[in-house]
């Protein structure tokens, strides 16, 4: 299997290539704009390994599809779409929270792992995974948003009575609420590991999760990004009312 994989959803983007048994990686560290350096990093990775004919030989292009920073996941998706359509190659859309989990627990301990990543606005993206004895990361919930200050544990947990779970966190600004049970192991990561990216890509390919380039999409989770006209009017009315009351 020959796969090109990349992720641009965080400050440290990465590129990884699975070329049959060989693995090649490249981290883009210290760049403010992944968009200007991603394709050069891919070219460099192929060139350094002498893979001049990669366009013909590659089997699939994998990308970190989110949830994560909107611009970052969209960049990865648009790059994958452009390359995939130009070459007629399928894509693999990789769940960003699984990438966090795999980066934090590369040894793949069996059991439940709860993964959370910063979603700004006081919220986390989160998802539960069951890691099998064979090291497969099987999602047990849909990716979702949670506010750690207001959510109850029984609303979040897939097994509220069970407390045996590991936790993987990615750049969380909010603290762990005291009312939640403590995980028996917690690991924090600062960047997606290229090895985790490839492990997820290999797993997706093994399960034949290929999508056509014109069907691949980012995963945002946060769907409400603007106020409708009615909501804008209601907000203005509320502000007017508050101003009237404060004057009174």
């Amino acid at each position: 299997m020959k796969i090109l994989a990349f992720d641009t959803a965080s400050d440290h983007a990465c590129v990884a290539v699975q070329w049959d048994e060989a693995v090649h990686t490249c981290k883009l560290q210290g760049y403010a704009r992944h968009s200007e350096h991603l394709l050069a990093a891919i070219a460099q990775t192929f060139a350094e390994k002498g893979l001049g004919n990669w366009q013909q030989e590659i089997d699939a292009i994998a990308f970190g599809a989110g949830p994560g920073a909107f611009t970052g996941v969209r960049l990865a998706c648009a790059v994958a779409q452009g390359m995939g359509m130009a070459l007629g190659k399928p894509l693999l859309a990789l769940d960003a929270l699984a990438l966090v989990g795999r980066s934090a627990y590369p040894e793949g301990p069996s059991g439940c792992v709860w993964v959370a990543a910063d979603a700004r606005m006081g919220e986390w993206y989160h998802r539960w995974f069951e890691v099998t004895a064979g090291g497969e990361w099987q999602p047990r919930s849909e990716p979702a948003l949670v506010s750690p200050h207001s959510a109850r544990w029984d609303e979040i947990a897939i097994d509220p009575d069970g407390t045996e779970f590991r936790f993987a966190g990615f750049r969380l600004a909010e603290r762990w609420p005291e009312s939640w049970p403590a995980p028996f192991e917690t690991r924090w990561i600062d960047a997606i590991a290229p090895e985790a990216l490839l492990a997820a890509a290999r797993a997706a390919a093994a399960q034949e999760q290929f999508v056509a380039a014109d069907a691949a999409q980012p995963v945002y989770v946060r769907e409400r990004v603007a106020l409708t006209l009615e909501e804008q009017q209601a907000l203005r009315a509320k502000k007017r009312e508050a101003a009237t009351q404060s004057r009174a």
Binding site: E36, L39, A40, C77, A78, Q81, G82, M83, M85, V225
Partner: protein, 336 residues
């Protein structure tokens, strides 16, 4: 290898075109996001970006099928690199550069307004340079002296709102739907343009400059006196439209007189306004200056104008890009 794949994603329209070097435009696809943004009363940049990444590859696939091209037929990828919404531009630029990188072909970033101002040449390829170009849209109001492809001199522009923006904001004040410009023009058709004495900002000034924010404020004040009276609302719409057209025409006349131009090209979404077209044609032709408008289908944003601009640049030997850096210019002055 046959020609150019062109991509436009600068605002709320996803445009794709294929341009054959021998026969010109062979396919174009356009998806307008108007319905998506209507419930928000204006373009929501994040939603615009999301829709571009959803539609763009599908439109490219349809254009390829329409022209019976394969990806191997594309020997240059052109795309709008600015000005526009950063997130929206990034989708088109990333797709375009990645396609080109994978196929080993060059790219050509195109200025959105150059696409607009050269678009009348698609229908009138014999149109001779030089000419004055009036670019008037929701994001821009400019007069330029155009000596040739890539040879532009700014004569003047708006110091605040664009004319199309003023149309949209006034429509919002009047409670009209989005996009407001066409709806305001429709309402104005049954209004009395002399009922409200609205200002014509800078109309007496000898300089070529536009200002529409004061006019918008005057409309907001007048609207408070109008209430729900349908005739009064139509009169206010007509008065506003007349004020904008008076200013646009007066400054265009001034630009033509200053330059001695024999031709005017008017482009951008606002030039779809029938009254503006009629006034420009009447007043400039009286001065011996012919007026050229792009066909209505090329007045809105579209991929064909980007393909056309790239084809002109290639024909004249302008350099192509092959560094595969995804670089966008959300703010990009036109005299390049």
């Amino acid at each position: 290898m046959k020609g150019i794949l062109a991509i436009e994603t600068s605002c709320d329209e996803t445009g794709v075109a294929l341009w054959d070097r021998a026969s010109g435009l062979v396919a174009h696809e356009l998806f307008s996001q108007v319905a998506l943004h209507a419930r928000y009363g204006g373009v929501v940049p994040e939603l615009a970006s999301r829709d571009h990444v959803r539609r763009l590859p599908q439109l490219v696939a349809r254009a390829l099928a329409q022209a019976r091209w394969t990806p191997a037929d594309v020997d240059l990828v052109a795309y709008t690199a600015g000005p526009g919404l950063a997130g929206a531009l990034l989708v088109g630029a990333a797709f375009a550069e990645s396609w080109a990188f994978a196929r080993g072909v060059p790219t050509m970033p195109i200025h959105h307004l150059e696409g607009h101002l050269l678009s009348p040449l698609m229908a009138a390829p014999d149109l001779a340079f030089p000419f004055v170009a009036l670019l008037v849209s929701g994001g821009h109001t400019q007069l330029l002296w155009v000596e040739g492809v890539g040879r532009y001199r700014l004569l003047g522009e708006t110091i605040d709102d664009a004319a199309g923006e003023a149309f949209d904001k006034t429509a919002k004040i009047l409670g009209l739907g989005y996009p407001g410009g066409p709806q305001l023009a429709k309402l104005a058709e049954r209004g009395d343009a002399t009922r409200f004495a609205l200002p014509r900002p800078l109309i007496q000034s000898p300089e070529i400059a536009f200002s529409f924010s004061g006019l918008k404020t005057a409309v907001a004040l007048a609207a408070e006196t109008v209430g729900r009276d349908p005739q009064a609302r139509a009169d206010l719409a007509a008065s506003f439209q007349a004020a904008v057209i008076d200013v646009l025409v007066a400054k265009t006349v001034r630009a033509v007189e200053l330059t001695g131009a024999r031709r005017l090209v008017a482009a951008g979404g606002v030039t779809a306004n029938a009254r503006l077209r009629a006034r420009l044609a009447a007043e400039l032709e009286a001065l011996g200056c012919s007026v050229v408008f792009p066909p209505p289908q090329w007045c809105t944003d579209n991929g064909a104008m980007i393909a056309h601009a790239a084809a002109q640049r290639v024909r004249l030997g302008f350099p192509v890009k092959q560094d595969y850096r995804v670089t966008i210019h959300p703010r990009w002055p036109l005299p390049l």
